[in-house]
Amino acid sequence: MLQSLDTYWNPFLETMPAEKLRDLQLVKFKRILKWGYERSKLYRRMYDAVGLKPKDIKTWDDVRKVPLIEKGSYREAQYKDPWPYGDSLCVPLEDVTVYHQTSGTTGQPVCQPDTWQDWEWQAENWSYYIWAMGFRNTDRVFFPFGYNVFIAYWAGHYACEKIGAEVVSGALLNTEERILKMKELRVTAFMATPTYVLGMADTCRKMGIDPKELRITKILCAGEPGASVPTTKKRMEDAWGCPVYDHVGATEFGSWGYECSFKPGGLHVNEGMFLLELLDLETGEPIEEPGKLGKIVLTAFDRLAQPSIRSDTKDVAMWSAEPCECGRTFRVLKGGIQGRTDHITKVKGVLFSPVAVEEVVRSMPQLSDEYELVVDKVGDIDRITLKYELNPGFEGQEKEVEAELTKVLRVKTNLGYTYESHPYGSLPRYQVKAKRFKDLRKDH
């Protein structure tokens, strides 16, 4: 159902009939494919290797013939002239105006160049999302992040400026100072990872401040899937007394998914600016039907300096059967990101996603926000250990808590666990992306 004009950043694109939207996507896919082939040595090598020319791509079936690109391909093409982007760069080096890089947790960081137009495009995409979440020019938005080489909320900052909101950087302040500054300036919104949103609430309480006293009206989360995990979202919303919205993106692809204020139980895909394909985890066949998990393959239609054309994101999701009440025809990924192909793994022969455990842990008031999952082997047998902390006031209840965890996790994940109780505050706290899942079996 269509809502009022003010609901949408771009009413034409966001409510476009689905079949017309598909037509637009095919036109834009061909355009970026041609650009990548003509401008990037990396893409040209990949496509020449399989005998593919842009003019061969005419239909959606043809799109499936275009090879997938992985993060490793960028790495191999980079760290040579034009430094450091090498063969992945599609524009003259002097047209690049912004540098970011990936965190490098899975290898050498991938460098991401953007032209000024690319950077406008980043801010434009974020404008769609924050507008859909209810950010307006009356908002004063706080950015409690490091403003460093990682892309994080940089584009969120520029999008806020674009929609006319007021931005406040909390870059070099520590958490306590950030909270005091937010309170002093009466900021109305902020953006952070779910881990940090919960951590800030914890710090507030330690300072004798109820987070609700800050009168925040909305929070945008990114960087981790937590804001789409219902129990984690509830913890954040209960703590701050305001809606929390999820958002997803990555350095190499741009930001492509968001939750609108109608909260459809998942993430809209910005299908006007991106092509998101779900591919079957085993066969690689495209998935169009709702409710079936697949890996996300992304194409950013309009990012030119270093395009993302059929990138294997390693993220896993499923289409929702229900359209959103907001009237947008952009499809919804039910429950947001369900995990990563390199995290969704078989334990004792059972397909296991760490996100399912987070949902259980965060549903139990006896447990703190922090936990850790470690998979290893005892002899030839897989073992999965859940490290947890009891909240203050629940000390000595390990036996009851573990019995409850066993019961719920058995139903939810079909697996048995061993447990380690840790004193409150002793498990690692994270400010950016949390690393709570460790699979040590590869080391055996």
Partner: protein, 61 residues
Amino acid sequence: MVEQAKLREMANLITNIRNEAEKLKALGSGIKCVEMNVVRMSAMIKMLELNINDVADILDA
């Protein structure tokens, strides 16, 4: 909702602005304050093209 005729009218105006920006770029060649501000202006025009012209072209097709 906004009618489709307005979409086409806006798309035509954006095309005119693009053409004028290109003329300004050519005229201001070598004058840095013109060249670099046109780069920024062109990026914003591109966003209007992605938002409006691309959509109008598909809906008109």
